[in-house]
Symmetry: C2
Subunit: 364 residues, 2 copies
């Protein structure tokens, strides 16, 4: 059992000390479920290893607070270690203040602690709240708890706005960019390299595609006052048969990161147009999410963070909520640059600050 | 035992019917050795599975006739099949006249038959002759019978000129081009592809090298009246870490085929100069062989082929003789394009024509 009334830093330590690598969230999900069921104002639902707790106060607005329970595999950092300010770990790792080190501390058990604490202590929020603690965020999308719930009981995810408590240094990261990957293939004619003029070299034929990438000027797109910076890059190249053969096939994999104001279809069209001289195969294409900052349910939150709002470049679960028609932002304790690192940690002050901010949002 | 007195087409059939995939030449080498030992005018030496037979008539000139005993692995064509003109095999394969099909028929048991027949029937050639039947031509150079003999007993390979009876449509293929392979690597800075401007894309940085390859104008070099056509080609390209990472390394493997008048050192300098903006690693570099057609020992042979002389573009064992200071040419029955194919075959007329030509060269 977890003590959700404990202060949020201590609760973070409790959560880190229950291992929950993706696919192995059951023990933690059980503890979360039983602890939430102690609060009679919450309606608790369990779907696989995702736990959902809802208030039903008949408020005009409903907001979602969401966090994933899973972590990446450990890097010799399974246990929580609380380290005073100015003290370094035996590994040499040091934080900028009093901090909790350990697997998942930053990504994102500190955020989960903030949401659990709010659920267990705020009996009468000014908006109805749906708390979502979900499984398998760190692995393929088909296993993601949000996907499972939106397929099984989509009504549980209805809300006016969602806040994902992913590490963002307690600032709002709004929207997210789309991401498309495509294979761009050149074809040629195979020949012995001693008589290369009889063939047509597919690797040489990639020159045009690479020149296109080199000359590409990435757009900077303004949405809701936020700057989204696009990018078009080769992330892989391959070709070749043997040391004495002119190859008849060579290909690039390109990754297009596009602004949330661009649709998936528009993104695909841009790529097929840019590489019209090649065979283009779309490998995957996930549309981004608009920041949705004009939504009234977010207005108060924006005030509370004191204007600390940035565009999100990477693709995140914010886009899953966008697909369900729910504006979403990231807002959580911890530095996102520390996620997945062996020195992962979160500042105690950062957890407490975020908790105060969320409490104020839900109660004032 | 082989019947070396048989006509050369029949002898070719006998040779095809003794399996001798590279590394398994012992049975064939034994048969060749015993058969040659029946001719008292030949001094026969055995080194591993290479058999050398020499006349010692005190002539002014000594020539080498050489052929390899090994074949590539079978392609369901282990046995010799003699097919009359105008008849197709059950596989649909057809020749341009009466032909012998089967593994090694073209590459190069027909040539070996011509040399064995000459050794066993020409008792008093006008030049001294060293017949060389060697192992492991189809595999790495360290196992090649010519390498073994030149290390163990180099004096056995002393001669004024060498003729390799490799398939060349009974024409002279003179010299051979050099071949160099180099890895050309671009370095960059790794970054997340959602924030690509923080990195430097090594795949994109290959554009310059590919443009160099595309713009490269290959030299046509005249040596001894023969045109050698050079070539510079990418034969492999690789790079990429993950679908969301800007790669910090990408590389091409280029293959430079250079004229026999260019030294290995000059070739290396050209490549390092061409790709001065990149890290260049030389993977291998085998100098070619000058055609040596001005050598008096070849003059009569050139007359006999009626001017059918072509430059050799691929690298062959001719270069091994060149390294030993012996001018060498390819001249043998069979179409080199058929080598290593499942439909490999040799025309009976081609074998007989080459045999007559060699006999005339050695006796008139």
């Amino acid at each position: 059992m977890l003590n959700l009334q404990a202060d949020v830093a201590e609760l973070t330590e409790q959560l880190v000390n229950v291992a929950s690598v993706s696919g192995n969230e059951q023990v933690l999900a059980d503890a979360v479920q039983r602890s939430l069921e102690l609060s009679p104002w919450l309606e608790v639902t369990r779907i696989s290893n995702t736990v959902i707790a809802r208030t039903n106060l008949g408020r005009d607005q409903r907001v979602i607070l969401a966090g994933h329970l899973d972590t990446v595999p450990p890097a010799n950092n399974q246990s929580a270690v609380r380290v005073p300010a100015g003290v370094a770990l035996p590994t040499g790792a040091a934080a900028k203040g009093e901090a909790i080190f350990g697997l998942g501390s930053c990504d994102m058990k500190a955020g989960v602690a903030v949401a659990l604490h709010a659920a267990a202590t705020i009996k009468e929020p000014v908006v109805d709240v749906t708390y979502v603690f979900y499984e398998c965020e760190e692995v393929e999308g088909a296993r993601n708890g949000l996907t499972l719930v939106s397929n099984a009981q989509p009504e549980l995810l209805q809300a006016n706005v969602a806040v994902l408590l992913e590490p963002s240094n307690a600032a709002i990261e709004a929207g997210c960019q789309g991401t498309l990957r495509a294979r761009v293939t050149a074809h040629g004619v195979r020949a012995h390299s001693a008589r290369s003029w009889r063939g047509s070299n597919a690797i040489h034929s990639l020159t045009g595609a690479l020149t296109t990438l080199n000359n590409y000027s990435a757009d900077v797109v303004l949405v809701d006052g936020l700057e989204y910076r696009e990018g078009l890059n080769a992330v892989a190249v391959s070709g070749g048969i043997a040391g004495n053969v002119i190859p008849d096939e060579a290909s690039l994999v390109v990754n297009y990161r596009y602004a949330p104001s661009v649709s998936a279809q528009q993104a695909q069209q841009r790529i097929t147009d840019l590489f019209a001289d090649y065979a283009v195969e779309i490998l995957d294409n996930e549309q981004g999410a608009l920041p949705g900052l004009t939504n009234p349910a977010l207005a108060k939150l924006i005030e509370l963070v004191d204007g600390k709002i940035a565009a999100k470049f990477g693709w995140t679960d914010v886009a899953r909520f966008a697909k369900l028609g729910i504006p979403a932002v990231n807002l959580g304790p911890g530095d996102p640059q520390l996620a997945h690192s062996a020195d992962e940690h979160v500042l105690v002050a950062d957890i407490e600050h975020t908790s105060a901010l969320i409490t104020e949002w839900l109660t004032k």
